[in-house]
Every structure is written in C-alpha cells, then in structure tokens.
C-alpha cells in the first residue's frame, strides 16, 4: 500500500526549474532515501509534499489524502524535520514540545507523558527546562526530531536529518529511524550522505536537476546501472589466463598473468566459465564487481 504518491510535480523559481515532472511512490512501512546533490530539488520536493511550497503543477497524496486539498488530515498523520531550522529559542525544550503537542487532541496527561518519552528518547530530559537558545546545534537537531515525533506519526519526513550532528547524534537519529520502521511507520528522508542512504534505505530515489534519475531498491538501481554502464567481471585462474573472445566483451584489463578485469555489456560469467572449462583452465574466482552507491550516484549526476 502506498504511503506517499507524487505525480508530475513541477516547481519553478523564475526561469529555474527546481523540480521537473517528478513522479514516485513510497510504500507503507519502508524507509525511502531521497538522494541528490545540493540544489537538485530535494528540499523543494519535500516542502511541496507538505504544502509549504505551492507547486506549479502536480499532485501529492499522503496516506490517500491530497496534501493541497486536505492539508490538516495529512498533517495530523505526518511528522516533519526540516533542514536548517531551529525551534523557538526563547522557549524551553519542554515548552517547545508542549506548543507543538497543543495542535493535537492530547489530554493533559497524555501530552505530558508523550513529551517526557520524547525528551528521554532524544537525550534531552536533563535539559528540558533550558531555553533552546542555550542548546548546541546537535541538541537543537535532536529537539527538532522530537517535535517531528510528537504525534506518533505514520509517515515521517526528514530533510537531511543528520546534518550538523556529531557521530553520536547521527547514530541516535539512525536508530530512531530504524525503530520507527520496526513499528510499521514509513520514513522518507533526504540526504546527500551516501553511506547513510545505503545503510538505512529499503528503496532509493536519485534526483538530479529536478528530475528523478533512478528509483528502486539499491540492488535494482545497481543492476540497472550495470546494464547501462556495463559489467565489471573479476576473474582469477590457476593457469595463465588466455585472451577472452566472447560476444559482449568490451575490453579486458590484465592485472597479472592469472588475473584480469573483463568489461562486458552483459553478465557473461556463464559463458566465460564454459569457455575456460573447455580450454582446461581452472577458475579460482569469478565475480561481478558491484558498483558502489557512490559510483552510481556520481555517474548519475555527471554522465546521464
């Protein structure tokens, strides 16, 4: 079942097209990583998904509700952590969360219990009566995450959630994201940190210059990438490796007498092992060198 449906989303600022006919879906219960270089249109997409930026064209539906026609229905069920934002600096951590909790139909006890839970979760219980202006950047980011969780949202939208956090803070955010998924929640997060996306995401969307360039699970994206860019097959044999003359081979790079990397248009491992067996050559290892997400990402940005 779909949690987020974005269809033909388009947004321009003057002559600059920030988001161009963007369409994708996020399924319930998955962690979706939205990857793109700076200025690719990630934040514009997210703000459009929340109705904070009004798109020129397109629709966004979250949990079946149109974001622009039924904004309150949508907002009651989502949580949002924006990039480069802070909370009300003159208020304490507790008062900030209380302010956001007041938008929902909590009883006083429920509200206080929820605030206490969240402040403990993000490690700010001891600082609950301190004004936010005295907080470090990491503490502010953790409090922002707490406000995003105040209504126990079904869909969590996080814009660069670990930006500005120390490793401990980043680990906390990632573990909270995983916990939310375990509870069956949907998490949509944007990032330009590849390792983070690789580590957390069930599916990934790569946006470049406002257009979606890749979408799917990491395996699907890598496979699609290899089909387009070619396969790198590493081979090592006991005997000397002969020249390989198979259809689909683009070139062969020798590492030594027994080792080589074969660049092919398709996965030719089967044909290669048959060929080597016919020639009486024993294979020590034969594997496809999978591209890293970094390879895919960089090639997507610069080549496609």
């Amino acid at each position: 079942m779909k949690a987020i449906e974005v269809e033909n989303l388009t947004k321009s600022y003057g002559d600059f097209k920030a988001v161009d006919e963007l369409s994708f879906e996020v399924y319930k219960g998955e962690i979706f990583g939205f990857l793109g270089p700076n200025g690719a249109g990630k934040t514009t997409t997210i703000l459009s998904m929340l109705g904070l930026v009004i798109p020129d064209k397109g629709t966004v539906r979250i949990l079946g509700n149109d974001v622009f026609r039924e904004p309150i229905k949508v907002k009651e069920r989502i949580g949002f952590l924006p990039e480069n934002a802070t909370l009300y600096e003159e208020l304490t951590a507790w008062r900030n969360l209380e302010f956001f909790a007041n938008f929902y139909s909590f009883s006083k006890q429920e509200k206080e219990k929820r605030i206490e839970e969240l402040l403990n979760l993000v490690g700010l219980w001891e600082a609950r009566y301190r004004k936010v202006k005295t907080f470090s950047k990491g503490m502010k980011q953790r409090l922002l995450l707490a406000q995003a969780l105040i209504n126990d949202p079904e869909v969590l939208i996080l814009d660069e959630p670990t930006s500005g956090l120390d490793p401990e803070g980043a680990y906390l955010v990632k573990s909270i994201v995983r916990e939310e998924r375990k509870k069956g929640k949907t998490v949509f997060f944007s990032s330009h940190i590849l390792s983070e996306v690789e580590e957390l995401s069930d599916r990934v969307g790569i946006i470049v210059k406002g257009k979606l360039r890749a979408l799917g699970t990491l395996e699907e994206i890598k496979k699609e990438f290899m089909e387009l860019e070619g396969y790198e097959i590493k081979v090592e044999t006991k005997q000397a490796l002969p020249e390989i003359d198979l259809s689909g081979v683009i070139r062969m790079e020798r590492i030594n007498e027994n080792k080589a990397i074969i660049f092919a248009k398709e996965d030719i491992r089967e044909q290669l092992s048959e060929l080597l067996a016919r020639k009486g050559i024993t294979i020590v290892s034969l594997e496809v060198e999978e591209p890293s997400l970094e390879d895919v990402f960089l090639r997507t940005i610069y080549k496609r």
Partner: protein, 307 residues
Amino acid sequence: MSSILNVSMKEIYEGIKTKRLLIVLVVFLMTGAGYAYWIKSTIMRIGLLDTDMALNAAQNSQISSMMLFLAILGAIFGADAINREVERGTIKVTLSHPIYRDQYLLGKFLGRMAVVIMAFLIFAIGSIAFLLILGVPLGSEFVATFVKMLPFFVLFSLVYLSLGFLLSTFIKKPSTAIIVAVILPIFLEIVYPSVASTLVVLMSLREGVAPTNPIVLQEALKKVYLLLSPVPGYHMDNILNAIKYGVSISEFSELLASGGFSLTLKPSNISYLEAIGIAWKNIVALVIMFLLPFAIAYAKFMKMELR
C-alpha cells in the same frame, strides 16, 4: 486548545520574555518621566496665567506621547512577525503541524496585539504615575477622557500592528523591517504632518494671502486636513476632540479659523455615544487603515513560499 489560541499564547509568552519589550518600555518610561517633568515646568510657567489651558495642554501632550509610543510599539512588534520565523525556519516546523496558515497569522496577530496592549497599559500607568508624583493635577476629567479613549488606543495600535505585519511579509530581513517600523510612525505622526502644514502655509503665502484671514485660514485648514487624512494620528486627534470637546473636525476648523491659533476649547459634557456619532468617519477611517494592510499581508502570506 484551539490552534489560534495556542499560537497567541506562544506569542504572548515569547513577547514578554524578549529583551525588545523591556528595552522599548524602559526607553519610553524614561521619556515619559522627562516629559512629565517638562509638563510640570510648563504648568508652573503658564499655569500662573491660565491653569485650565495649561492642564488642557498637558493632557493633550500626554495623549500624543502615548499615541507615538503605541505607534512605534505596534509597528515594531508586527515588523518581524513573519520574516523572522521564515529566516529561522520555525514557520516550516509549525506549519507542518495541523494548523491552517490563516489560523497561524491570526494567532500571531492576536498574541502580539495582547503584548502591545499590555505594554501600552504599563507605559500609560507609568506616565500618569510620573505626573501625579510630580504633583501635576490631572483630575478626574483626564482619567475619564483616557478611559473613553482606550478602545481607540487599541484600534490605533491595531493600525500600526497591521502595518508592521505588512512590512514583515514584504521585507525579508527582520532587522531592516524593524528599522522601517521605527521610521514609519515617526514619519507619519511627526514629520509628515509638520511638512504638510508648513507646505500649505507656504503655498498661501506664495499666493500673497496671509493665513490669518479667517476665510483663508479655513481654506488652508481644509487643505491640511485633506493632506493629513492618511495619518492615523490625525483621526485619533479628531476622536479626542469629539470625546473631549464635542466638536467635529469641520466645527473645529471653523472655531480655529474664527478664534485663531490662540483658540482654547472648553471640555464638553456630551455623552460617549454622541461623541462617537461625531467622530464616526474617523473611526471608520481607522478601521480601514487597520484592515487594509492586514488584508494585504494576509493575501501575501497565504501565497508565500516558505523555503
């Protein structure tokens, strides 16, 4: 708790905690104290000749200073209402929760209005206290006028608050908007009326007619009033005249023309409703001056990109 009330309460809490309110209050209370001393010395000087006239002048000056305070306070408190939240990103956080944009704007407006009124009452009570401490005999008539004027002080503060909100939706940088918000009331309430009056007098002189002639003076006053019609303080003066002396602006100009600049009006005993009847056009003008900038700010805010 309703979303509007939630935002209003937050605004009040933040408003009274900020240093800005404290600074403005201290500056104005100090000015108020100095002003009270000046009024006292003026009364000592003129009072020997005409106590009523001296007291009248003192009361009018006091109300004018309160109006300027309200104007600056209102404009300052409105000027960073939206742009500061956009700058800090707090608006994105708040509007991602279940609240409509218009509820948010209204909540902010009501909250800030409450802070402005609270600050005004502190200033007004402080200023009156200074006068009483210095022994200026204000009398029950002054207190009655002040109480009758209170709803119009609120309306007047709304005019400047909504002008401040207008600035906050059009000027991106809060610091720039606040500077404009300080300049705007000073220009509208002090500089522009002085320039407008001087220009009309100069124009009369250029035509070779002395403005001391009652007919010429009345014509000149009409021109001045026309030029002053966009100034909120002008309408407040007219409402004050109606409440205190029971005269409309046309009657006032006639009296002024016939009596010259030495005209002294006697306080009248007309009812509050009658006074409102006399000054209804000025009240309507203030309501329009409040609603128009707010409506423009509202329209702009509803379409604003919150990047």
